[in-house]
Symmetry: C2
Subunit: 346 residues, 2 copies
Amino acid sequence: MKYEAITIKDIAKALGLSTSTVSRALRDSYEISSETKDRVLAYAKEMNYRPNPIALSLKEKRSSSIGVLVSEIANSFFSQAINGIESVAQEKGYNVIIAQSKEDFEREVSALHYLASRSVDGILISVSAGTSDFSTINDLYLRGMPLVSFDRVVDHLNMHKVKVDNYKGGYDATQHLIKNGYKKIACIASSAYLSITEERVAGYKDALIEKKQGIDETLIDYCLHSGLIYEEVEAIMDKLMKQKNKPDAILACSDKITTNIMRYCQDKKIKIPAKIALLGFSNLDLTDLLTPSLSVVKQPAAEMGRIAAELLIKMIESKRPTSTFEEVILPTELYQRASSAKKTKP
Amino acid sequence: MKYEAITIKDIAKALGLSTSTVSRALRDSYEISSETKDRVLAYAKEMNYRPNPIALSLKEKRSSSIGVLVSEIANSFFSQAINGIESVAQEKGYNVIIAQSKEDFEREVSALHYLASRSVDGILISVSAGTSDFSTINDLYLRGMPLVSFDRVVDHLNMHKVKVDNYKGGYDATQHLIKNGYKKIACIASSAYLSITEERVAGYKDALIEKKQGIDETLIDYCLHSGLIYEEVEAIMDKLMKQKNKPDAILACSDKITTNIMRYCQDKKIKIPAKIALLGFSNLDLTDLLTPSLSVVKQPAAEMGRIAAELLIKMIESKRPTSTFEEVILPTELYQRASSAKKTKP
DNA sequence: TTAAATCCCGGTATCGTTTGCGTAAATTCA
DNA sequence: TGAATTTACGCAAACGATACCGGGATTTAA
């Protein structure tokens, strides 16, 4: 069964006019008499006429839709970001087409090809944790596809970037842990390929150096799947808790890593923060209800989505190729809660 | 700047052929010599030719995209459902276009018009909590738009429906609370307009009746916005905690209601389950990490999304109008945790 | 040798819309 | 009154791809 809409041709036939006249009447052209306009408009309204967007797309060579590539929709950060993207897109008359990479490089490449072949007018990208080769993205860029990367941006490519101040996020979080008396702070970050990882870890290191605490590389670890898989977090935690220089606090650099560490500690009956403190990047909105209430670095996800979508649409609608690229950096918010409370004397 | 793809015309010109020949060669028609086919295929591959989906859509009168209308993307249940929908759609070559109603009737109507005007081939609907008038949906149905409703289904309209056994979910949850010694079980449900509300409340009532516990209507309340707004939950809780027949347990019938009750109890320092037990419908995946760990009724969200998408695509691709409509009912899962632990003697 | 069959390919209409161009009819100006 | 202008509309091409129809060239059968 098919949903058949009324066309300009139907209106023309019904009113004994040509399609061009109807088209111009609908667009309120000066070439059409007001009498004819009224007839056309009235009939169009009665029949609930809507221009066929596909025919328009073919003619105008634009689809009025934007693609969004994220690693996982069912992730609080990304669903909040998509929320922001969708609101801007709707407002400006664009569709939002979603694709997920599941933190996998091959899926990311095929998703990008998919989006490009579906002729979206532009793409919002947050690269997967498994991506170290950016040639597909670069190809799209070279062929003129408007691109904006957000959150997990692509550092060495020319494009608009929307992200948070990851360095400061990592720095502030670490400083907070130091201030609360923790001496051996571990850092479990996402894939080392990601820009956010590098920046967050740099902030962590600088905070330690500034407070004259040495950096112990055995306290730093990376998750190739950004914590999406429990086992990778488990393995790292096992290693950390067994090693000589056992940490008394952990900075977790992604949503999934944070919650998987909590799950690990619950399983192993490791008390937070008595045995080990925890502070993580997370956008879940009930971290305050966890046991213990979780200290987090939160990102303005919806805001990032909105800004990224606005930049992309501006780029799409610009007459000339974009030459200067913006890098929007939003602040993170640090929520100090029980999981990183002042260290009690052992 | 625009992304310009190669067309069949470009290939024809480059190879000195007509567009029809190229088209047929690409589709491996028997009418084309294998020599010509090879030339065309080789050149197409070299130039990375992809058929323009918009031109195809115009010709075939189908867009290969499906619309999804949910109340809120940034909600664990819906993001999980979209996850399932997206995986099926991708596999079958369809786009997923997302729209949100934010539990608002007017936004739902405009989102439906939006999706229809963007010429999607079909729509997956989970109606908003504010919807009591289904005429827009019915209009779409009458005009032949393939529709499938999921989770919050539209009971009296003819369409495929995918949902969980809400009655049993409510019944089992209530029975569990009774078994654990609770005598005055309140029920805070979503908007009374929703099918899920009616069914869950019916299960709740029947469990009470079966155990010879009377039904006190002052213990049953509804949230017009499905708990999306904290204040509506707060008002109901204030009322419940002050009234004569004060509940010793609560059955919360939506994700947001559940977490907002937890937040309320934390704010007011009401101990769960000592002062009041809590059991809620929720799809968050860290309810086990909350304090206390939260007893929940969980829905197979991704599975529902997958099944709904499959039904919709089957409907779209069917030659003749669908006459018999399926109602798929999936089981809920009850997780018994600390928030509904056995009642301690007061 | 001629008619029929087969093989390959091109021309053209079509989907729905916009737009440049052409042109009758109506109007204005000299 | 005749010419110039304006008004108001239709024709046809274009966007990219497909498919029906038709036809020239070669091969096969009679």
